[in-house]
């Protein structure tokens, strides 16, 4: 019982430290919220009046009907006819249009005789959300027309939309940033804050008193980690809620597994913080270490900003030791790609292994004495 009350006293004290330091609170709460809001502004979820240009060498009844339907919908705004396919790039670059529609020649004839015709939808995917939604709307308008025509003609026909995304072929959308953002924030809160919190006690000399008390060093460590663990979880839930309600990210994967997966990563980050605190003796060094050693690699090597696939091979191998790489990859799958948990087992095992490894090393490193 006494150990428990000792432990709780520690945790309580740690919460006091956090809540009484406005700077800490700002970092912990302010950064995630502001980042999500910034991303929120970058994404517009409404698709309206996308300007379109059309290249229509056929100029027959079907193409005209399709063009009419597109232009009369709220989503699109007809801007101009193109004289050749060469013009497409030019109008995109001038920013005149958001989507180009290229029909083949003799569209209607092909459709009636072979039962098949194709139309190219080229969208500007600088904002992948916009681009994607625009092509989806356009495809469905074309599909409606195909449906009607089929009923009227009573023969099977098919209009095949070929979709091409310009400028951002991987469709890396802004809300793909959310897992990366979480990776960075947990490094900041868990690793940096924990290391600073432990090292601060070394600096002020209170660690000497704690070490001469009967409290087991492991309790000192765990009680330092608990508040940041709880706070991180809380932040995770805030980010999740904001993603759903502000960014409209469809979090349709298993919430349970997303939580489990994230908590594993939080433990990894906490152990990294602990590890740093066993190596340095000043708060400045702790901040430098976690900043340069953890947060920068997360930005560069985790796939958060630069896609891993386009890195040189050697850096790709290097990225494997960055825990956030595995977290981001797993969280993307769970949150955005909505896959089953067995597809993230690899990431989960790697992170669990890392957590255990780092924790063991740092607990061994944590000195019960000053030297």
């Amino acid at each position: 019982m006494k150990t428990i009350s000792q432990f709780l006293a520690f945790v309580k004290k740690e919460f006091y430290h956090i809540f009484r330091d406005t700077r800490t609170m700002l970092i912990i709460i302010g950064i995630p919220v502001i980042q999500i809001l910034i991303i929120g502004f970058a994404i517009s979820t409404e698709v309206k009046n996308v300007k379109i240009a059309v290249y229509d060498p056929s100029n027959d009844i079907s193409t005209q009907k399709i063009i009419n339907r597109l232009s009369s919908s709220d989503h699109f705004l007809f801007v101009q006819h193109l004289k050749s396919t060469e013009e497409v790039e030019g109008v995109f670059k001038k920013g005149k249009i958001g989507m180009a529609i290229i029909f083949g020649s003799n569209f209607n004839e092909h459709l009636l005789h072979t039962g098949e015709a194709s139309v190219q939808l080229i969208a500007d995917a600088t904002d992948p959300n916009q681009g994607l939604v625009a092509t989806v709307y356009a495809s469905s308008i074309i599909a409606d027309y195909q449906q009607e025509l089929m009923q009227a003609l009573e023969i099977p026909i098919q209009i095949i939309p070929e979709i091409r995304m310009l400028y951002n072929p991987e469709m890396r959308s802004a809300y793909n940033f959310v897992p990366g953002l979480m990776g960075m924030i947990f490094m900041l809160i868990c690793a940096m804050m924990t290391s600073v919190a432990i090292v601060r006690e070394k600096e002020t000399g209170t660690m000497e008193v704690l070490l001469t008390s009967p409290v087991k060093p492991i309790y000192i460590i765990i009680s330092k980690m608990v508040p940041y663990f709880i706070i991180s979880w809380f932040i995770f839930i805030i980010i999740l809620l904001m993603s759903v309600f502000v960014l409209k990210v469809p979090v349709s994967g298993s919430l349970l597994w997303l939580n489990v997966f994230t908590l594993i990563f939080i433990v990894v980050a906490l152990s990294l913080g602990l590890f740093i605190s066993t190596m340095v003796n000043t708060q400045v060094a702790a901040i430098l270490f976690s900043g340069m050693g953890l947060i920068m690699p997360v930005m560069i090597f985790s796939g958060f900003i630069f896609p891993i696939e386009s890195m040189p091979k050697i850096l790709q191998y290097f990225s494997c030791i960055i825990p956030a790489r595995w977290f981001i990859s797993g969280a993307r799958k769970l949150m955005i790609e909505d896959v089953e948990v067995r597809y993230v087992l690899k990431e989960m095992f790697i992170l669990t292994g890392m957590a255990i490894g780092i924790l063991v090393v740092s607990l061994k490193n944590f000195k019960t004495r000053l030297e």
Partner: protein, 302 residues
Amino acid sequence: MDNAILKCLSINKRYGDVQALTNIDLTVKKGELFGLIGPDGAGKTSLFRILTSLLPADSGTAVVNGLDVEKDFRELRRQIGYMPGRFSLYQDLSVEENLNFFATIFNTTVKENYHLVSDIYRHIEPFKNRRAGKLSGGMKQKLALSCALIHKPTVLFLDEPTTGVDPVSRKEFWEMLKNLKEQGITIIVSTPYMDEAGLCDRIALIQHGKMLSVETPDRITAQFPHKLYRAESKNNYALLGALRQNPEVKSAYMFGEYLHVVFKDKLPHYDETNSKSEDNTQIVFNEIEPCIEDCFIALMNE
């Protein structure tokens, strides 16, 4: 000594090239108020850290309250109180929160041991909701002492509790230590202020990691090997220069408004010392009892 509560034998400690402690032997009796006196860098803090199990010695043994500082450090940590050189308090916790926290980690409550700290704590109790960081130096010192005492330690280690504290607060602090001693707690305190030596039962003079002497203050001053004279003049600095050049003078140091002078033989004739400082007409020599600082200087010069 049967009633020894602390015993250490030939303790050595080295940091890289620096020999911090050399063959330290020390015995402290139960219930003593023991002073470890020496300047910064003498090795006081290193010795305290070894005795409180925070630092392993390179060689030698130390036993506190029957417990080896290396092997039995867990049990030892339950029984001692330690106040490090900087007042180790949580600046962002209130006075009361600090005390409660330290009570809890030592498996006790403030209520249980309030009687131990009440004398000290009641001075700061009116400010119990104030953050420790907002206290004055003297009050921080009192709070730190309360925190070190709250678990009823048998031995209390205080590392330079009065450094940088003004003379008034220092005086008050020593009064508190006297009261604690009467309650049976053994207190080992280090200080760079030589004038505090007289307030201890026994003292150890330490310099460059070596013990110069371990004795009661009275005996240390009694062991002063020379006759000591106090010189007084209108211009002590000029007189000091003159005395230093006088071959009959063994040593001369400024001591407040006087100079403390030791002659190689006996006090030479008045005019001889006077001859070299013409502007200093009135010089008075009086034989005096040495103080701890005189002894420390003499031991340093040996």
